[in-house]
């Protein structure tokens, strides 16, 4: 998703009277202007990009009104940047909302529970203001069952719900959605934490309408509890429009076959466990016949372009996907503990692959096989099987170099390894000029180039220098201020920067804040940046979505100064651990621009300066 400014920003401009072109004050515009506005509305309705719309709304009041009437999709990048009431008052005809909440470091347990980003105030406001709401996408929002219940009952035309990295709800909420949203087309649960209390798991799959449904996409691979399989099979059978189905790990490969038989039109399939149900396993000595049957099933699913799941994959089942490999553009093996030998026969057939997610168990050798075949690869993510800072790494600079040489069209890479060399990173920067996202995570803290012993400055420097389209960067390993000097100097398009355990002094952060003028999201942890570095960014913080700094060298004096100098910036100090109650040092800082001022739902461990 493009990291666009939220609708509130345009509002800020006009709210201050920045645009006034029609000479009118508060009286309704004269007839001729109303005609003009109608014409304008008809034209503006074709504008879809939020950026374009924000720009249009700043032209004059007439355009502001026309744009507000015609905007159909509302994008709120930070749920605390604007109040629900203000958003719903300005935009009256919204059909689709995207709402994002917690900072990304919440995924790694750095943001305490109950910090905020509750869905409730938004769903209440939207229930009143947007009865014709059709689509909702929430990311890192705390959603309760009661919120889903309200949603299901408030929007009779509701069609698409995507919940990404959300938590706080369970199967009861899903049941409400399934039952009440009769026009539901999309229900995508992506990496959510779906929790049920004790034994209160509900059979939500059975709640879908008995008649033919309009379901197009159903994804529940993150739901921890098993679903009623017979009900699921029947649901798939009566959903002729279904093209994406992602089941959770409780679905065995035998059950998967039955589902695929019901829905040969699927294009995206989450395969669940891809292992045999335990009871059936003894019958499949050597698994021969069953693999063949499974392969026939895959052969019948000619439309498949995206495979994921493989949560408990039994490697002898992998050959069953050969019939579809050639058509695959996306393959997610990131839960499959397979070695290079098991990967190679599969990947050799995937000539059209563009997105590939894999575990580092395949090693450098596996990555070499990927590089040899997948010439069209755009996105690669290599996850660690053993995610600890001192685990044995299975992939290294060798794999990275191989990928860079084989996959020249690479745009996005996420690579976890134990150690790396500058030369490998430099090689990648030279080979993959289209890189837009470069995230290298050297898991060992402060690891230098393991061949030369130097810091990783030159490698990352080459990335920002050579990859001119770079928008997102995550750095790791031993880094000095020099690396940040490079980033500030060359990373002119960088919008998101993640820093951990890096830098020597305030200079590092200063370089970034003074140099990267497109920076929007900055997240830093455990780096020695202090108050003076923080203050060097005052000119830029209003242009950013948020800044997160934890375990740095900030003090409350510096943070208070920022809060005073920038009144529209909400500066939150989070003190959730016992050792944080030292008044002077600030261990977790989260600050963001906001039209709504200090939020009123902050828990006790959050202090807003």
């Amino acid at each position: 998703m493009a990291e666009d400014e939220d609708g509130g920003r345009g509002g800020a401009g006009c709210g201050d009277g920045a645009g006034d072109g029609d000479g009118g004050a508060d009286a309704p515009p004269p007839f001729s202007d109303r005609v003009l506005e109608n014409v304008l509305e008809n034209v503006l309705q074709f504008l879809s990009s939020p950026r374009d719309r924000n720009a249009a709304s700043l032209v004059c009041r007439s355009w502001y009104r026309a744009e507000a009437q015609t905007r159909r999709e509302l994008f709120i990048g930070n749920c605390y940047a604007v109040s629900p009431r203000r958003a719903t008052e300005r935009f009256r005809r919204i059909r689709a909302v995207v709402l994002k909440g917690k900072p990304r470091f919440a995924d790694f347990n750095l943001v305490p529970n109950n910090w905020g980003a509750h869905f409730h105030p938004w769903v209440s406001a939207m229930a009143a203001a947007y009865p014709w709401l059709e689509k909702l996408c929430l990311k890192r929002i705390s959603v309760a069952d009661s919120d889903l219940f309200l949603l299901a009952h408030s929007f009779p035309n509701f069609k698409e719900l995507s919940l990404i990295c959300c938590e706080g709800f369970g199967t009861a909420g899903l049941a409400a959605i399934a039952e009440k949203c009769r026009h539901l087309r999309v229900l995508d649960l992506i990496e959510d934490y779906v929790e049920d209390e004790e034994d209160e798991t509900m059979d939500w799959i059975s709640r879908f309408p008995e008649t033919t449904t309009s379901l197009e996409s159903l994804g529940f691979d993150c739901v921890g509890s098993a679903v009623n399989f017979e009900a699921l099979e029947a649901l798939v059978a009566r959903s002729p429009a279904l093209w994406r189905l992602r089941v959770n790990h409780h679905v065995s490969v035998e059950q998967l076959r039955r589902l695929m038989a019901r829905a040969p039109q699927l294009t995206h399939l989450g395969t669940g466990s891809f292992g045999s149900a335990a009871a059936a396993a003894p019958l499949l000595q050597g698994g021969g016949s069953s693999v063949v049957d499974l392969a026939w099933t895959f052969a019948a699913s000619k439309s498949l372009v995206c495979l994921s799941g493989f949560r408990d994959v039994e490697p002898h089942y992998l050959p069953a996907i050969y019939p579809v490999c050639d058509n695959l553009t996306s393959l997610n093996f990131s839960f499959a503990e397979i070695a290079a030998e098991e990967l190679k026969p599969v990947i050799r057939r995937c000539h059209n692959l563009q997105n590939f997610l894999v575990l580092d168990t395949v090693g450098d050798e596996g990555l070499q096989a990927v590089a040899a075949t997948c010439k069209d690869l755009r996105e690669l993510k290599v996850f660690p099987l053993d995610a600890r800072e001192d685990s044995e790494g299975s992939v290294s600079d060798v794999g990275l170099i191989a990928i860079s040489e084989g996959c020249r069209k690479l745009r996005s890479i996420l690579y976890f390894c134990q150690q790396m060399t500058n030369s490998a990173v430099i090689t990648m920067s030279q080979n993959c000029q289209d890189l837009m996202v470069f995230r290298l995570c050297i898991m060992g803290l402060h690891r230098p180039d393991h061949r030369t012993g130097e810091p990783m400055d030159e490698g990352f420097g080459a990335i920002v220098r050579n990859c001119k389209k770079l928008r997102r960067l995550a750095v790791s390993g031993l880094l000095t201020d020099k690396a940040f000097a490079y980033i500030g100097e060359y990373g002119k398009l960088v919008r998101t920067l993640s820093v951990a355990f890096a830098g020597n002094s305030d200079l590092g952060l200063r370089y970034v804040l003074e140099g990267c003028n497109k920076l929007q999201k900055l997240e830093i942890r455990d780096s020695p940046f202090g108050d003076s570095a923080l203050l060097s960014g005052l000119h830029h913080y209003y242009n950013m979505r948020f800044v997160w700094m934890s375990s740095c060298k900030l003090s409350s004096r510096g943070c208070k100064e920022v809060a005073q100098m920038l009144p529209r910036l909400v500066v939150e100090v989070i003190r959730d651990r016992d050792e944080d109650h030292d008044n002077e040092a600030v261990s977790k800082l989260y600050m963001y621009r906001s039209l709504a001022g200090s939020r009123n739902d902050a828990p006790s461990f959050v202090e807003i300066l």
Binding site: N109, H153, S154, F155, D192, Y193, F383, L445, D526, P528
Partner: protein
Amino acid sequence: MEEDFRKGEECPQLLDLIPNERDWMVNGVGGVGKRCGVSEEKKLELRLGLPGGEDWPAVIGKTEEHSVESVLSPGRYKLSKTSGINPSSVGAKRGFFDTVESKTEAFQQQQQQHAGFLQLQAKGKELSQKTNGRAEQQSLERKACGFSAAHGSAAAPSGNAAGANNSSQTRTATTPVVGWPPVRSFRRNLASTSKPPLESENGGLKPAIKLENGGKGLFMKINMDGIPIGRKVDLKAYDSYEKLSLAVNELFQGLLAAQRDPLAAGNQKNPEEKPAITGLLDGNGEYTLVYEDDEGDKMLVGDVPWDMFVSTAKRLRVLKSCELSASSLVAHFVVVTSAFLFLSPGGSGRQEKNSNRVLERKGSVVHCALNICCFLASFGRCF
């Protein structure tokens, strides 16, 4: 500071790693780093063959030059196998030296050979002090980091050692860093679980987080008739029945309105127009608040002192008052009677059970009355 985090945990592991390391090298799979291990081990062997404290710096100077030459030889790290010392003969301590060595060797590459020499000299001093191995490692790493950061500032080695030594205890090496490496929690269990993955794969830390609410709230489930979704209230947040009643109203007002008339709820511009839920406590409203205590009995809310209610209530329900009619009177009577009887002897503690005993003591008349009430209550099937 942050250097403390680095490899803090490795010391105990390293001590066990020597045989593994050897296999690691023998396999020859993997990157250059592993070859470093070979050469470094051999370099260490040269050092360990030497005597103690005071000779150390001189000796290190010699061996260091030797090793520096070999390290600087272009491209390759393999030392000629001239040392002839069998790796397996070296004891556990060498493992500790190994990683330290890999770092110090690495920094030598920056051609600050003098400072590197000073590093080793300082290390020698530390070793001879025989302090806690972990502290040594940390302090050496601190110096190593500080060295690389300083880039040529030739700080006095003893100063380094002293400074590092003093602050090397700042972090307990056993604490893993929170949230590092940055993978989401459902990926963290992959290495430890074999098939099938646990249901907690979606977040090993989440259950702890779920229960953690500052640890001070008293959250209680509350369900309302006709609404399939339950809510939770924190009883500690209120200090009277009135406030609880208002909270219940807030919790369910929206849901009730949505359920009753979805379109009306949607079209309302003014949220305050939703009908309020009132009269929960006095029996006059459409709904009545009841609770279940820790002995499983269902009781009307409001009759006992607030603190007692908080300590004994386990679940709350909001019932339609009409369904309560017959048995509500009975229940109310029972509670009121019990409360009265309980209060009159001036006892304390659980009201109902004590008062039951009180009832029995007082005589069969009341006992019969109680039986009749209970019979009617079950007959009314209010609960």
